[in-house]
């Protein structure tokens, strides 16, 4: 892991408060890893943990939703602007090990890390993406996924409801999930019924991003684990969800 200054290649608004930031970073990145990003000096004080959307040819892309002060500044970045990055952070997924039929399940901006995961998988991959309103970032998945299922709570062009209502773990050898905790808990519970292996990508507020501050812990069967370096990928059945 390295702390360095890099340049913005592009920063594209995808929809409403969803953006894709491309940075000039020449790192070997594993799917599921993230970076601590900081594009300011004084305020806010902390970097923001943002997962890798995709990485190739010296460009690392980050898909993010504007939530607060930090992501708002990120959304205003232009090509050639400087960004401080610390990373890549986290265990990530060794996608090359996964075989068979694989389901990727995302809720909202939880779709962000799924693209790099889909790209690394060799088996047959289906995406199940749930959104609050209209879907985003779907197009690029068409290259890597056999079937794409979309649910939306408000956009009537898609299945109306939660994505978990149209997903059956019985059909899959492996499930990988990222989204709000209640959704991930539901997916893990569903997978338990069929003993389908399930991985979840956790998120939390972070101060250091290197495992030192213990601010981002989550509860697991083996006690508290740091989302930043012990995760963000955990076996779903190991996590004790608070939701």
């Amino acid at each position: 892991m390295e702390y360095k200054e890099v340049l913005v290649y592009s920063n594209v608004k995808v929809q409403d408060d969803i953006y894709v930031l491309s940075l000039e970073i020449e790192d070997d990145v594993r799917a599921g890893q993230f970076y601590m990003l900081k594009a300011w000096e004084e305020e806010p004080i902390l970097a923001r943990p943002i997962s890798v959307h995709s990485s190739e040819n010296g460009i690392v892309k980050f898909a993010y939703q504007v939530k607060g002060r930090g992501t708002k500044i990120l959304s205003s970045l232009k090509a050639e602007d400087k960004v401080y990055v610390l990373g890549p952070v986290g265990n990530g997924l060794y996608t090359e090990k996964f075989k068979g039929k694989i389901a990727l399940i995302s809720g909202g901006i939880g779709i962000a890390p799924m693209l790099q995961i889909a790209k690394g998988l060799e088996g047959e991959v289906d995406l199940y993406a749930g959104f609050n309103k209209s879907p985003y970032l779907i197009d690029e998945f068409k290259k890597y996924c056999k079937n794409i299922h979309i649910a939306s709570e408000r956009d009537t062009a898609y299945y109306r409801g939660f994505i978990t209502e149209i997903f059956n773990p019985f059909e899959y050898n492996i499930v990988i999930c990222c989204g709000p905790e209640p959704m991930m808990k539901r997916v893990v519970d569903m997978c338990k019924i069929y003993a389908t292996p399930v991985y979840v990508l956790m998120e939390n507020k972070m101060a250091c991003g290197v495992g030192a501050c213990l601010g981002c812990t989550c509860n697991t069967k083996e006690g508290k684990k740091r989302v930043c370096v012990d995760g963000p990928v955990f076996k779903g059945t190991d996590v004790v969800f608070s939701a």
């Binding site: 892991m1 390295e2 702390y3 004084e42 305020e43 806010p44 004080i45 902390l46 970097a47 401080y84 610390l86 507020k205 972070m206 101060a207 250091c208 290197v210 495992g211 030192a212 501050c213 213990l214 601010g215 981002c216 812990t217 509860n219 006690g223 508290k224 370096v229 608070s242």
Partner: protein
């Protein structure tokens, strides 16, 4: 080599420069290995350790606010035995002085912890009587100087390691607290720990933290921390280690001029992982520019 001008002798321990990393912001050092050159630091202070392993607090643990951050980690740590077994040797490899931050929720815990640490190769104990996030026992050792005095007294009896007592800015009277700790046998004083603060989640209409209160740190607290370091340095005849909101070398030099022998970098490690190294380089450059041959020339100058 100008490097030698940064030397500080503190409680009999040689520090090659006055810049340490504060407890809880640097883990056991290894977390930052490869990100910065840890061997360049003045010294390492461990994450707060307790006699027995602690899982720490539930719920939100960190919350950023303007000028800093609130934390409520709750002294999560592996316990002293596991620290000695798994982390101490690795820390020693950085070849800088190792200070163990020792916390506790009863006097007996502090005493037993210090007894064990006395037999190890650590250089110093930083007695943490000021963690605002742990409240078992209903006693907060950092608030009342009479209680603090007893803890220091009892720990003094069981160890020959230098004891640096870390004070809370929430103490009833910080100067009296420092004086009482020195009377009880403290070899040094470090201050300040975090300020007791809170935040409200207006959508949930609840406190952000399960414990309601949390420790406030970061650049916003610097002027108050500096004032306290200044007051305490004047009042005690043991060396003082200053911390609280130090972000750059100018902040660090202010603390030194206010009387600090050593300084600690805390929240700034999160703002910029290279902060401690940049501060060391900044102090050195300042000394060269100002033709200062030794920190003795400027320490406590005001």
């Amino acid at each position: 080599m100008w490097f030698s001008v940064l030397n500080v002798k503190f409680c009999g321990v040689d520090f090659k420069n006055p810049v340490l990393v504060a407890s809880g912001t640097f883990g056991f050092g290894v977390e930052y290995d490869g990100i910065i050159d840890i061997t360049r630091l003045g010294g390492l202070i461990t994450k707060g350790l307790t006699l027995n392993k602690k899982e720490g607090n539930e719920g939100v643990r960190i919350h950023e606010v303007r000028g800093g951050m609130l934390n409520s980690i709750g002294l999560q740590n592996p316990g002293i035995d596991e620290f000695i077994e798994k982390h101490l040797q690795r820390m020693k490899e950085f070849k800088v002085p190792i200070i163990v931050n020792l916390g506790g929720s009863s006097i007996e815990d502090y005493v037993k912890g210090a007894e064990i640490l006395d037999k190890t190769e650590i250089d110093m104990i930083e007695l943490n009587i000021s963690c605002p996030n742990v409240k078992e026992g209903g006693m907060n050792f950092g608030i009342k100087s009479s209680i603090a005095k007893e803890v220091v007294n009892r720990v003094r009896e069981v160890t020959k390691k230098p004891i640096m007592v870390k004070l809370s800015p929430n103490a009833e009277d910080i100067v009296d607290m420092a004086v009482k700790c020195v009377e009880a046998g403290a070899d040094a004083i470090s201050l300040v720990n975090t300020f007791k603060g809170m935040a409200v989640d207006i959508y949930k209409r609840k406190p952000v933290f399960n414990n309601i209160f949390a420790g406030y740190s970061g650049p916003a607290i610097k002027p108050i921390a500096l004032r306290m370091v200044y007051e305490v340095s004047k009042a005690v005849d043991v060396p003082v280690c200053g911390l609280g909101g130090i972000v750059d070398y100018k902040d660090a030099i202010e603390f030194i001029m206010a009387g600090a022998y050593l300084i600690q970098i805390g929240t700034a490690n999160f703002i910029n992982p290279r902060a401690s190294i940049e501060i060391i380089e900044g102090i050195e450059k300042f000394m060269i520019e100002q033709n200062i041959k030794s920190l003795d020339e400027i320490r406590g100058i005001i």
